[in-house]
């Protein structure tokens, strides 16, 4: 149940091939990253995984079972959760109610009173209010619990979306730019949270533009450009990959080097005798 596989997935919109022959694995217990320039097809890939968009070829399978023809809500019930690039919070409800709705919807289709997944707590099946409080605490949303989400800054609203997705107890979580809107300190805490969730069994597929975060948190990366995977591997492999550098990461020198300042070191030969 904890393995999501994409095999030669392609998505076509009219004449435009948005995603082309993409294959990847997302396993429980680690954070996989999906990076690439804007328009590369990352969100479309997410949409194909969730069933929001129908692939023109290839397949999506979860735990070995082909789910390419399964409807969105059924895929969610099989364990796929997600957040959205453009906020899809319930802006009429408060933070607490957003998470509560996630929990109540899960209760409406989940017959078995399952124990909390390990990534949320150590076993036990808490009462709904406790589970909501637990999620609020993990995401540091406690003080904001009774605010209407429509009034929150984007960064916090994204965390609410994450909390809501967690309330549904997914086994694979797709996160679409969850850290956009968070400042450096908040991003650090968020990165730690993701590492902890993954360490406790959740499989995460992360789309992010914050390269530092991605490099720190992900154990495996796929790089997308113009709908195709141009590189995949560990962060170290990908970081030095030529194709990736030219397509996305860039070849500009780091800010604290002479090159960056425009100084040619040849103009300053070392002093004789030093």
């Amino acid at each position: 149940m904890n393995l999501l596989e994409l095999e030669s997935l392609s998505v076509r919109f009219g004449g435009h091939l948005a995603v082309s022959d993409v294959s990847m694995r997302v396993e429980g217990g680690r954070v996989s990253g999906l990076i690439g320039p804007n328009g590369a097809g990352k969100t479309t890939t997410f949409n194909a995984i969730c069933g929001v968009v129908t692939p023109s070829s290839g397949r999506v399978s979860l735990g070995g079972k082909d789910i390419s023809k399964v409807g969105t809500h059924k895929r969610a019930r099989l364990g796929i959760g997600r957040t959205f690039q453009r906020l899809e919070v319930f802006s009429s409800l408060t933070v607490r109610e957003n998470i509560q709705v996630g929990l109540e919807i899960r209760k409406s289709w989940s017959r078995r009173s399952a124990a909390l997944p390990q990534y949320l707590a150590d076993g036990g099946d808490p009462k709904p209010e406790d589970e909501i409080n637990l999620i609020l605490e993990r995401l540091d949303l406690g003080p904001l619990a009774d605010q209407p989400v429509g009034a929150l800054p984007t960064g916090h609203a994204r965390l609410v979306e994450l909390g809501r997705a967690l309330a549904a107890r997914p086994s694979i979580l797709l996160l679409d730019e969850p850290a956009s809107g968070l400042d450096d300190a908040e991003t650090d805490i968020f990165g730690d949270l993701l590492i902890t969730l993954a360490a406790n069994g959740l499989g995460i597929l992360l789309v992010e533009h914050d390269v530092a975060l991605v490099m720190r948190v992900c154990s495996y990366l796929s790089v997308l450009d113009f709908g195709q995977v141009i590189a995949s591997g560990t962060p170290e492999d990908v970081r030095s990959n030529e194709a990736v550098l030219s397509a996305y990461l860039g070849t500009a020198p780091a800010p604290d080097t002479a090159e960056y300042a425009g100084i040619d070191l040849a103009d300053f030969p070392p002093e004789a005798g030093s």
């Binding site: 899809e88 802006s91 209407p148 800054p153």
Partner: protein, 802 residues
């Protein structure tokens, strides 16, 4: 074979007209995202206009044709776009549908006022009398002309959309208005042209049909609703699809006339009016064949929708108060008035049925009266002695039927549900309510209830029963709203795609809400205890219900009641005011009744500016009263005292009405301010004296005898009320409505804090000029600018953490 050819050609010529009408609909829908329910009314107006120009003013046929189709029609469309459509472009489906429906009803009303229905207006065909023989069949020129014009329209539209700049701009403007602007397009002009084009085609189809049908506002409009069924075949976006659909429908209808004998029966069902049901059936079939709609993830607006659910306590108290008020008023009325009110009161429960569906879930139904009728018939059939079993069966049947009707449409977007329910209403009018077994003689009496030993045998008891049921269902709905189910509905309205990714089956949830709504409407019919006429259980009737419910403020039970009251009040008002007329500049004598006929439509049209409806606005004025105990006590005591005076005949009924009006709308809103300890500065004593005087005057003036005309009497009372209230505010020094306004804070993204006052439009323009952008490119639409400017300005509130 000859017969087949005759009917084929007849079918094709009707198809031509449907095709032209449907094309206009598709053009406006694809370029603005607004499905124009009033499109048929445009055609109807054009038909009447043509009659006026050609027959009324004697202009020859060809110039009249050109004038109506190429000048008046497009001009009207452009006007409508500018005045109405532009304002609702970004609004929810519900608002768009209700505004266009209201426009349709308004136009029907206006047409009936200008061209009185009691006069026949025949229009001669084009090329009168000239015929041509094709394949041994005689075809008259007009029909041939219609077919040729349809082909020309098809070719012309294809050329416009694929080859001209305007056409491309039209296709772009619906995708991204702002982007079009940045690329040098002029969206406002493009939209206007699109509506002019669509309206021109509506005019064309109207003029073409004018000679073949009697000019009757309602019938013609309903005829063009067939064009909607045709457009659906093309999924509302494809012109070739619409043409195909037109051919199918035209031929089917023609063969039905030709081959189904008048007295044909399908088992016990008479097929007499089956021709009228064909468009509805076709619409259903097409909707069922559509694949499920894609979920769209396009981000939610930050503005929160609707009002917070009311506390259960408040609902209980409100319900009890409501019952008391109704009983109190009922005990005062004369028997005829009581009968009048009781007959119409069920409508309040019908509008209540829309609260869960439209108010909570944001879906629209145009068939509530149809479900009411089904409930009534079920009760009459199975609850003959007023037994409650009949009510239960009626409710059950309606729920099941509702689920079946809604299921195919709910897989698709909101507009399809509106169309499916409209089709259902038309189908039942044509094939169900006119069956002899269902409504013998065109009417059916619903027996009044017998609850154990209690027999509802008087109008007064029936009225109280209806009030009790209304309060009961109202409380149930509030309970549901506050439950997990209610939260889920709000969530679904805010972001359906998020709900789907959480595992919620959207379709079954929506079907459940629809079934509940149909059940409540059925219950209204089952307990109404009145006689229903088949003629009133029609689509236009249901349209009015939906429209007034939304105008009243569908998000809340109170709003639904307000809408229901309006619905009931208009026909009552029409009866009361039947004899009064208002002269306008001495030329046109418009009777008050006529104004009442099209004013519901006008009210609906104004919804664009306030989607939440009227009730919340009025509620704002009274909100502070609910929080002030002395104010509440005074209200209760005062209102009861006035009632007591009337009950014991110390004052006449009209004085009672006047006194209560002045008390409720003049005195009560000011009570919180009068009681507030030193928080607000004002001349309390003086205001209190003035208000008491106002109420006493209202009670003591002999309205009945001083003013003979009823209409004038009501108007004078309202003017009196206005003067008392306005003067009181003046004396006091503070306007309570301003308080209400400040309480309504727009939820704002603190991403933009730092601004300490609301931006005005002038500020925005200054900024734009400062950036070096040209004025013309930056004409913001009303909804964009209002939202942005209002949102950007509010001071960030204290709850935001760093």
């Amino acid at each position: 074979m000859d017969k087949f050819l005759i009917f084929t050609i007849a079918g094709l010529s009707t198809a031509a007209i449907y095709a032209i009408a449907a094309s206009g609909l598709v053009v406006t829908y694809t370029t603005s995202g607004i499905f124009n329910f009033a499109h048929g009314a445009f055609s109807m107006m054009a038909a009447f206009m043509y009659w006026q120009v050609h027959m009324g003013w004697g202009v020859p046929a060809l110039p009249a044709f050109l004038l109506v189709v190429f000048v008046i029609g497009p001009a009207f469309g452009a006007m409508v776009e500018r005045g109405i459509m532009r304002g609702i472009e970004g609004a929810t489906d519900v608002v768009k549908i209700v505004v266009t429906i209201s426009l349709m009803i308004a136009l029907i009303g206006i047409s009936m006022v200008i061209w009185k229905p009691d006069v026949a207006r025949p229009v001669p065909a084009f090329f009168e009398g000239q015929k041509v023989t094709i394949f041994n069949t005689v075809v008259n020129y007009q029909r041939l002309m219609a077919m040729l014009i349809a082909i020309a329209v098809a070719i012309g539209l294809r050329l416009i959309f694929k080859k001209t700049r305007l056409g491309v701009a039209m296709r772009a403007v619906v995708d991204d208005r702002g982007l079009l602007q940045l690329n040098g397009g002029r969206p406002s002009r493009t939209s206007m042209m699109a509506w002019a084009l669509g309206s021109g085609m509506a005019a064309l189809s109207g003029v073409l049909i004018a000679s073949e049908q009697t000019l009757s506002a309602t019938t013609l409009t309903l005829l063009f609703i067939n064009a909607y069924a045709v457009a659906v075949v093309g999924r509302l976006r494809s012109l070739p699809g619409a043409f195909l659909g037109a051919v199918i429908l035209g031929l089917l209808e023609s063969y039905a006339i030709g081959y189904i004998p008048q007295d044909a029966m399908l088992g016990p069902i008479s097929l007499q009016s089956s021709k009228n049901a064909i468009p509805a059936v076709m619409l259903f079939v097409v909707i069922m064949l559509q694949p499920q709609d894609r979920l769209r993830a396009h981000g939610v607006s930050r503005r929160s929708s609707g009002s917070k659910p009311v506390a259960q306590r408040v609902a209980l108290v409100g319900g009890a108060a409501f019952i008391l008020v109704v009983a109190g008023l009922g005990s005062l009325m004369s028997l005829t008035d009581l009968n009048l009110v009781t007959t119409g009161f069920y409508l309040a429960i019908v509008t209540l049925s829309l609260v869960p569906l439209t108010g909570y879930a944001g879906q629209i139904s145009l068939a509530q009266l149809t479900f009411t009728g089904i409930g009534a018939v079920a009760m009459a059939t199975w609850g003959a002695n007023g037994s409650l079993v009949g009510v239960a069966l009626a409710v059950g049947v309606c729920a099941v039927v509702g689920g079946i009707v809604a299921f195919p449409a709910l897989r698709l977007s909101g507009i399809y549900l509106a169309l499916a329910t409209a089709a259902f209403a038309l189908f039942c009018s044509a094939m169900f309510f006119n069956q002899v077994d269902v409504m013998p003689g065109g009417n059916r009496q619903v027996p009044r209830l017998q609850i154990g030993p209690l027999s509802i045998n008087s109008d007064f008891r029936q009225l109280v029963l209806l009030a009790v049921v209304f309060a009961g269902i109202g409380n149930l709905l509030v309970l549901l709203r506050r439950s997990a189910w209610g939260r889920r509905l709000t969530a679904m309205k805010d972001s359906p795609v998020a709900c789907a990714t959480l595992g919620l089956n959207l379709t079954s949830t929506k079907v459940g809400v629809f079934a509940l709504s149909a059940a409540i409407a059925g219950a209204a019919g089952a307990i109404s205890g009145r006689t229903f006429l088949a003629d009133t259980l029609t689509l236009p009737g249901s349209l009015s219900v939906t429209m007034l419910a939304v105008v009243g403020g569908i998000g809340s039970v109170a709003g639904a009641f307000f809408g229901g009251m309006l619905l009931g009040a208009f026909p009552i008002g029409a009866t009361i005011f039947a004899a009064n007329a208002i002269g306008i500049f001495g030329f046109v004598a418009v009777s008050v009744k006529d104004i009442l006929v099209f004013s519901p439509g006008m009210m609906g049209v104004s919804l664009g500016s306030d989607p939440d409806g009227a009730a919340p606005q009025i509620a704002l004025g009274f909100r502070s009263v609910a929080n002030s105990v002395p104010a509440l006590v005074t209200t209760a005591v005062g209102a009861t005292a006035i009632w007591a005076l009337a009950k014991f005949d110390s004052i006449g009924n009209w004085s009672f009405f006047a006194a209560e009006m002045v008390f409720i709308f003049g005195v009560v809103p000011l009570l919180p301010l009068l009681f507030a300890p030193a928080q607000v500065h004002g001349r309390r004593i003086a205001t209190a004296i003035w208000l008491t005087l106002g109420v006493l005057m209202a009670a003591l003036i002999p309205w009945d005898t001083a003013i003979t005309s009823t209409g004038l009497r009501v108007i004078v009372i309202f003017v009196f009320l206005f003067l008392v209230a306005r003067t009181a505010i003046g004396i006091f020094g503070v306007n309570p409505l301003d308080e209400g306004g400040a309480a309504q804070v727009e939820l704002v993204s603190p991403d933009m804090f730092g601004l300490d006052r609301p931006l005005t439009r002038a500020d925005a323009l200054d900024a734009e000029r400062g950036l070096g952008l040209q004025d013309e490119l930056l004409v913001l639409t009303a909804s964009d600018s209002a939202g942005m400017l209002r949102g950007a300005g509010q001071q960030s509130s204290a709850g935001v953490t760093a």
